[in-house]
């Protein structure tokens, strides 16, 4: 079960140049091996918090602390990031897209090809390695994006509403596959979503955020055991967790006031 802390946000605030206060006094600790969902209404700064963890955005207040030394046994770098859109290079094949992180770090070509193949195999797209993103469905493109994020075997996988644009059937399937990959790779995931059901199904901990300014409102532990599957989705236990999360979200929205 979750053990040593991996990364922590301490008193993180973010004011955009336009003057918008996106985050204020955000405290959040991510432990190794956790699956944390950031749940909140739009405008609560959950994506901003994720970008700050990724180092894509600098906090204007507070600090991001990496609490564990870089794990030498892992061959890749620390972070993987999956955006809301698949964000693939349209001019490059699936294989080249997944290769990108290794390519940018000048990894040896032979080794890289193997790792790309493994990553594509993990998301079930081996047969489409030479296809272009245009030729794939939305769900398949998102799989490519996940394969690319996992190809470096990151310690921390950051996902910014990755399945928001997908239909429910595809989303459920990807949820299951994501859980499977998370368990197989024993990585840590922070998953931003505005879906109560998705957050409860996936995560071991739901962090509910409130808006204006963005902050942690409350946390819920989802102590149902993994692996989770269709049975969990229809269980009374799942329904109970969802109800608690919904109530917490409703309170968070009320606490955030009108936009």
């Amino acid at each position: 079960m979750p053990s040593a802390p991996l990364v922590a946000l301490r008193g993180v605030g973010k004011v955009f140049p336009t003057g918008t206060q996106a985050l204020a006094g955000l405290d959040l600790e991510i432990r190794q091996g956790e699956f944390v969902a950031l749940l909140g209404p739009s405008g609560c700064g959950k994506s901003t918090a994720l970008r700050i963890v990724a180092g894509l955005s600098e906090p204007t207040d507070g600090v991001v602390e990496w609490l564990s030394p870089a794990d030498e046994t892992r061959s890749g770098n620390r972070l993987g990031f999956v955006f809301q859109e698949p964000t693939l290079m349209p001019w490059a094949s699936v294989f080249t897209n997944v290769l990108l992180p290794l390519d940018l770090q000048h990894k040896s070509a032979a080794n890289s090809a193997e790792r790309v193949s493994a990553a594509l195999d993990r998301v079930g797209l081996t047969a489409f390695r030479h296809a272009y993103p245009r030729e794939l469905s939305g769900g398949m493109r998102m799989r490519v994006s996940i394969a690319r994020a996992l190809v470096t075997e990151p310690e921390l996988l950051l996902m910014d509403e990755p399945f928001a644009a997908l239909d429910e059937i595809t989303r459920f399937k990807l949820n299951d596959d994501l859980l499977r990959m998370w368990q197989a790779l024993r990585t840590t995931v922070v998953f931003v979503t505005h879906s109560v059901f998705e957050s409860v199904y996936l995560s071991s901990r739901v962090v509910v955020m409130a808006a204006r300014p963005g902050r942690v409102f409350t946390e819920l532990a989802i102590d149902a055991p993994y692996p989770r599957d269709q049975n969990f989705r229809t269980s009374p236990e799942y329904a109970a967790h969802c109800r608690r999360a919904s109530e917490a979200l409703a309170q968070a929205i009320a606490a955030g006031g009108e936009p």
């Binding site: 770098n77 955006f83 964000t87 290079m89 990108l100 992180p101 272009y132 245009r134 030729e135 469905s137």
Partner: protein, 305 residues
């Protein structure tokens, strides 16, 4: 895994099954019948394509016929208006002279085009890499563009050897669309992709070669398509301007020279060759555009339906 690729997937060499799957008749029609029936759009498409070729040709034929008849019936002398037949005869008779001139103009055009392509893309990359350089030089690029090249050509002919002046004119008119489009393209990079590159610690060079230039490629090719026609215009303008000085041998010079000699059929023949050159240049560049973008860019993809 379970999610199906859309109909334009490369796996579907034959679009028929998918077509039937999406918009085919209700199942009661029977699947065998549905499968041998060709998609109704293909016939319509084929007729549409045939019309797109046949109609302009018909218009051309009709126009030429009227022209020929008018000249014959009114007995217009060839130094006023030569008939199409005579122009064609002149084209054949003067082929040695005209084809040499065509070659000269084409070489100038090609050189001007290549310089414009290299200059336009090069300057755009420079602007993209350094804001200070952009601020310093962009206004002059605009000035170069907005000053009519016809007015600049005589000056260039004073200071440069004729061939260099002609080339400079071709470059001046052709480089700006490449520069403007390439600049737009380099600034149109997907922000998330740019974030991804920085997340993985990409160097400036990697961002330029792996991200910015490929993103800009459709824009650059668009600019080149305009530049192709413009470099021909630039070359022609300079040749005409130089024509008075008399040492040229390009097609435009032939037009000017034939004008002085009232050899109107040859003027038309040379003009015909210039148009043909322009058309060929345009279609060659369109082909390059298509070949480079066909796998991935919206502009080069055929509609699904």
């Amino acid at each position: 895994m379970s999610d199906l690729p859309p109909a334009h997937s490369r796996e579907s060499g034959n679009p028929l099954p998918q077509y039937q799957q999406r918009t085919g008749p209700p199942l009661s029609r029977g699947t065998t019948e549905a499968h041998i029936r060709p998609p109704p759009t293909s016939l319509h498409e084929r007729r549409d394509r045939a019309l797109r070729i046949a109609l302009p040709i018909a218009v051309l034929a009709l126009g030429l016929l009227i022209w020929e008849m008018a000249v014959r019936i009114e007995d217009v002398p060839p130094y006023v208006l030569p008939a199409p037949g005579l122009i064609l005869q002149t084209l054949v008779a003067d082929w040695a002279l005209l084809s040499n001139s065509l070659l000269v103009t084409l070489v100038t055009t090609l050189e001007g085009f290549l310089l414009a392509a290299a200059g336009g893309v090069g300057i755009a990359v420079l602007f993209n890499q350094s804001r200070l350089v952009e601020y310093s030089l962009y206004p002059y690029a605009v000035i170069l563009q907005v000053t009519p090249v016809v007015a600049v050509a005589p000056l260039l002919l004073i200071y440069l050897p004729q061939q260099a002046a002609v080339l400079a004119c071709a470059w001046i008119v052709a480089f700006f669309p490449v520069l403007a489009n390439a600049t737009l393209g380099l600034n149109s990079v997907d922000r998330n992709l740019a974030d991804l590159f920085s997340l993985y610690g990409a160097s400036r060079g990697q961002v330029l070669w792996r991200l910015k230039l490929p993103s800009a490629l459709p824009y650059i090719l668009g600019g080149l398509r305009i530049a192709g026609g413009l470099s021909l215009i630039g070359a022609v303008v300079a040749e005409i301007a130089a024509g008075a000085a008399g040492a040229g041998s390009g097609l435009a010079y032939r037009i000017a020279e034939s004008g002085y000699r009232l050899n109107i059929p040859r003027m038309f023949a040379a003009l015909l060759l210039l148009s043909a050159a322009g058309i060929v240049i345009f279609y060659l560049l369109s082909l390059v555009n298509y070949l480079a973008l066909r796998h991935w860019h919206e502009s080069a993809l055929r509609p699904e339906r």
